[in-house]
């Protein structure tokens, strides 16, 4: 594999971005956005995860096989969450027969 590796400058930029995003998550919690508070917090977490994954964990520079493993992880996680929620929240739709 002729993969390139991130430079020290890249690591520093990513680190500073992560610190800013962490401060942003905490700061936004003190502003009333209603239900959007959770959405924004999770969106920032997703950006932070991507930064750590792509640069600190070198996914940006790695080959397809590694990326498929990551996608497979997310896929099975999504199946677990979605099927569980589909079960729990559809239970009240059908009333069981009987007295």
């Amino acid at each position: 594999m002729n993969e390139e590796n991130p430079s020290v400058e890249t690591y520093i930029v990513v680190f500073v971005a992560l610190l800013i995003l962490a401060a942003l998550t905490t700061g936004i919690a003190y502003i009333n956005l209603g239900t959007l508070n959770t959405v924004v917090a999770l969106a920032i977490a997703a950006v932070k995860m991507s930064l750590v994954g792509l640069f600190f964990m070198h996914l940006w520079y790695s080959r397809g096989l590694t990326r498929i493993v990551v996608l497979a992880g997310f896929f099975w996680l999504a199946l677990m969450v979605l099927f569980t929620l589909a079960d729990v929240f559809s239970r009240s739709w059908i009333k069981p027969p009987g007295p």
């Binding site: 998550t25 999770l42 590694t66 992880g73």
Partner: protein, 235 residues
């Protein structure tokens, strides 16, 4: 390696990195490194599902008992949680730099950065311990010492707050366990580096330990907003 493979034009020995660090089952050092990384990524995919179990339970029960989760979350110290986030992000940075140093074959720099990462990890665990002991003194530990006051319940049913705290202790506890394992791994790497067993050709062990460390950091990136910031902190 067979004679025919060695003499084939596709596998010219000059194109290979034959080194004493190469294990016999691999063609060359790059393949060995790829296999190591791939193995760790497969392990991390199983870890995603391992943590995914508690995250799924969390999503379900948070939807069913939201007031209890919000009340329990308001009882956690946001500043301490934020400080832990900063410490862990810093440790991820020093870890990434440690892999960089290992790749460059800079032993002194690698040792220093591994040591910094371990110290930041211990600082994180120290803060976690402080937080747990606060919870114990507040009598907010489900099953062992749970006697919440009315202000701590914030109008939510007691069992729902208790459920949130169960998730809090299991999720952070599982994360802390991974941190302890990570610190153990990095200590082994530091010993190997000290003995000169990590070289610019043979640094895959450090790289793989780094992947694990970053994964544990990513788990915390989600735990912080999910546990400490439910329902915001605005007045």
């Amino acid at each position: 390696m067979s004679e025919s493979a060695a003499s084939s034009p596709l596998a010219a020995p000059s194109a290979r990195h034959l080194s004493p660090a190469l294990h016999h089952q691999f063609e060359d050092i790059e393949q060995q490194r790829d296999a190591g990384n791939f193995g760790m990524w497969v392990f991390l995919a199983t870890e995603m599902l391992f943590f995914g179990g508690v995250f799924t339970g969390y999503i379900m029960y948070r939807s069913l008992y939201y007031p209890g989760f919000a009340a329990g979350s308001h009882g956690l110290e946001v500043n301490l949680g934020a400080a832990m986030t900063f410490v862990l992000l810093a440790s991820s940075f020093t870890m990434a730099m440690a892999v960089h140093a290992a790749r460059a074959g800079r032993r002194g720099m690698l040792l220093g950065l591994l040591f910094a990462t371990i110290l930041l990890g211990i600082a994180f665990l120290g803060m976690k311990f402080t937080e747990y002991s606060h919870k114990w003194h507040e009598q907010m530990v489900p099953g062992l010492n749970f006697h919440p006051s009315l202000t701590e319940l914030r109008g939510a049913p007691e069992h729902a707050v208790e459920l949130f705290l169960c998730f809090y202790f299991f999720m952070t506890g599982l994360h802390a366990l991974h941190m302890i394992i990570g610190i153990g791994l990095l200590s082994v790497m530091a010993i190997l580096a000290w003995r000169g067993r990590i070289s610019c050709e043979h640094y895959n062990r450090v790289e793989v330990s780094g992947l694990y460390w970053h994964f544990v950091d990513i788990i915390w990136i989600y735990l912080f907003p999910l546990l400490y910031l439910i329902g915001g902190r605005y007045k």
